[in-house]
Structures are given as structure tokens and as C-alpha cells.
Amino acid sequence: MRVLILVAALLAPLPAMAQAWQRYAYPEHGFVVQLPAPPTLTKGQFRTAAGATVPATVYTLNEPDIVFSMTVADFTQTSMNRDAALADAVKAYGATGQIKLNVEERVNQEYGRQLTLVGNDGSRSNVSVFFVNNRLYELQGKALPPEPAAGAGKAVRFQQSLSFVPLGTTGPGHGGPPGQAGPL
């Protein structure tokens, strides 16, 4: 009987607890974001609007109601310029749904675009696109269907947490190793 009670207690749903967000710094790519858990990193290719490919790194965290992602596409071996890169990125997002808001935004000293996107798949995303040091940064907090409202607040926080730091550094106050959680 005691064993059954113990098993039942272990299987019982945990009370709702505040998920602690952490600061994650990536000196290789010169950015910092806040997330509720560490993202996974994959290397791949990014296809440009012109059909060429460039190396890319994608940081992703999947949760039941939202996908957090940051894609860093390396244009250092190309002649791509900032305005063209941002225009192509916005156009590519527009092909996946309806852009509800598209505004210029400054993060640190860098200027880019912030979008709100209602996806053709029923998702709702907060997106930031920047072109810094010949790299295209695409941050997306994608609140998933069928109930995107459940993840929408987290998408806002992810988007607004983005910081740029000098390449090779983790920014002020980050005590942890690169790519691992540091103090907020």
C-alpha cells in the first residue's frame, strides 16, 4: 500500500512552478539571449533569396507550446549587404504567413527589423532580423497552433532579450562558460 501511495505521489502532476529563464551567451556569434532551458545547436546551410547557400548555425529550444530559434547565417564570404539581407529575410518570412507588424528596431548599436507573423500553419511568431558583422541573425519565438496564445508571452520575452556583444566575448556580467547558462 505504501509503495502504491509513493508511486501515485511520484506520478501526480507537479504543481505549476515558475520556469527560471537563464542568460545564454554565444561569443562565436556575438549574441546573448534569455531562454527557459539551454538550446540545441545544429550546423547547416542557409539558402539565400538568390538561391545560393551559406554556412549557418541554428540554436533551437522546443517546448510544447513554443519553439525558440536563432539562426546565424554566415555571409562573410559573400558581398551581401545589410539592406538586401534584411529585405530578403523579411520577404522570406512573408512567404510563410501574414506579417502583422514590421518595424525598425535597435538592439545595442545595431539596427534591424522586428516582425510579428501569423503563420499559414496557425502559429504566431515574434521575429527579429539583424545583419551584423556580415552575419544574418534570425530570431524567432514561434507560438504553436492550435493555441498560439499559450506561448505568445514567452515569444515576446525571447525577442526582447536579444543583445549583441563583441565577437569573442560573452558580454558584461556573464559568469558562465559560453553556451551555458549564466547569471541573468
Binding site: 507588424l101 535597435r106 545595442n108 499559450a150 508571452g153 514567452k154 526582447q160 543583445s163 541573468l184
Partner: protein, 124 residues
């Protein structure tokens, strides 16, 4: 023309001070011409750099609780306004004035809160 040293130094520092004062990002996503009221229960409050976050659970029109992310001032600004890390804790009920997201999502820039004890605290 020779400028007095303090004037010259101030002129040199002005661009940097301007960036510092405007924060780590601009506020393009927030509708700063509008102030809305949201009532909810604190999920989490983090008084952190470069700016803090108040995560608030708010009932929507259908009665479902939704998490709102409210950006606050930085720790220095908040301390000057009377905030401490434990000014609000999970489970506290409060009323918040916010500049909402322009596109109506569940977030905004926190303007002030009214606590259950009637105390009002500014954020920025």
C-alpha cells in the same frame, strides 16, 4: 575658439550617454502612446540586467489564464523607484499599467503596478 575642458569633455561623451540612456534596445514593438490596464497573478519577477521581467498570469476574454511578459526598467532604475527583488512574489495579485505590444500580443512595457495593499510603484 577654445572650449572649457568640462564642455569639451561633455561634447565628447554626449553620444555615449545618449545610447546608455536609451537602454539596450529601442521600444519599437511597444505602443508607447497607449496605456492599458491588466490584472493578474505574479508568476515570476526577475530584477535583472539589462532590464527586468514581470511574468503575469492574466485571464483572457475566454477565461483562460495566459502568461504575459512585461518588461521593466533595469535594476538601477527599479531600485530608485522603490523596487526590491521581493517587492512582488509568485502568487501576488496586482494591477499593472502597461504600454502594450503594438500588435496586441501578450506583453508590454510595464509602466506601474498597484499592489494588493494599495501601494503603487512606477517601473521606468
Amino acid at each position: 575658439m577654445k572650449l572649457p575642458v568640462p564642455v569639451f569633455a561633455a561634447a565628447l561623451a554626449a553620444p555615449f550617454l545618449a545610447v546608455s540612456a536609451s537602454g539596450h534596445h529601442s521600444y519599437a514593438m511597444f505602443d508607447r502612446g497607449r496605456t492599458d490596464t491588466v490584472v493578474g497573478t505574479v508568476k515570476n519577477f526577475e530584477l535583472i540586467n539589462p532590464h527586468g521581467w514581470l511574468q503575469l498570469m492574466v485571464r483572457d476574454a475566454q477565461g483562460k489564464e495566459r502568461e504575459w511578459s512585461l518588461e521593466t526598467g533595469g535594476p538601477g532604475q527599479m531600485a530608485r523607484a522603490g523596487w526590491q527583488a521581493n517587492t512582488v512574489t509568485p502568487g501576488d495579485k496586482l494591477t499593472a499599467l502597461i504600454h502594450p505590444m503594438k500588435e496586441g500580443s501578450y506583453g508590454g512595457q510595464l509602466v506601474s503596478v498597484k499592489l494588493a495593499n494599495g501601494q503603487t510603484l512606477e517601473s521606468h
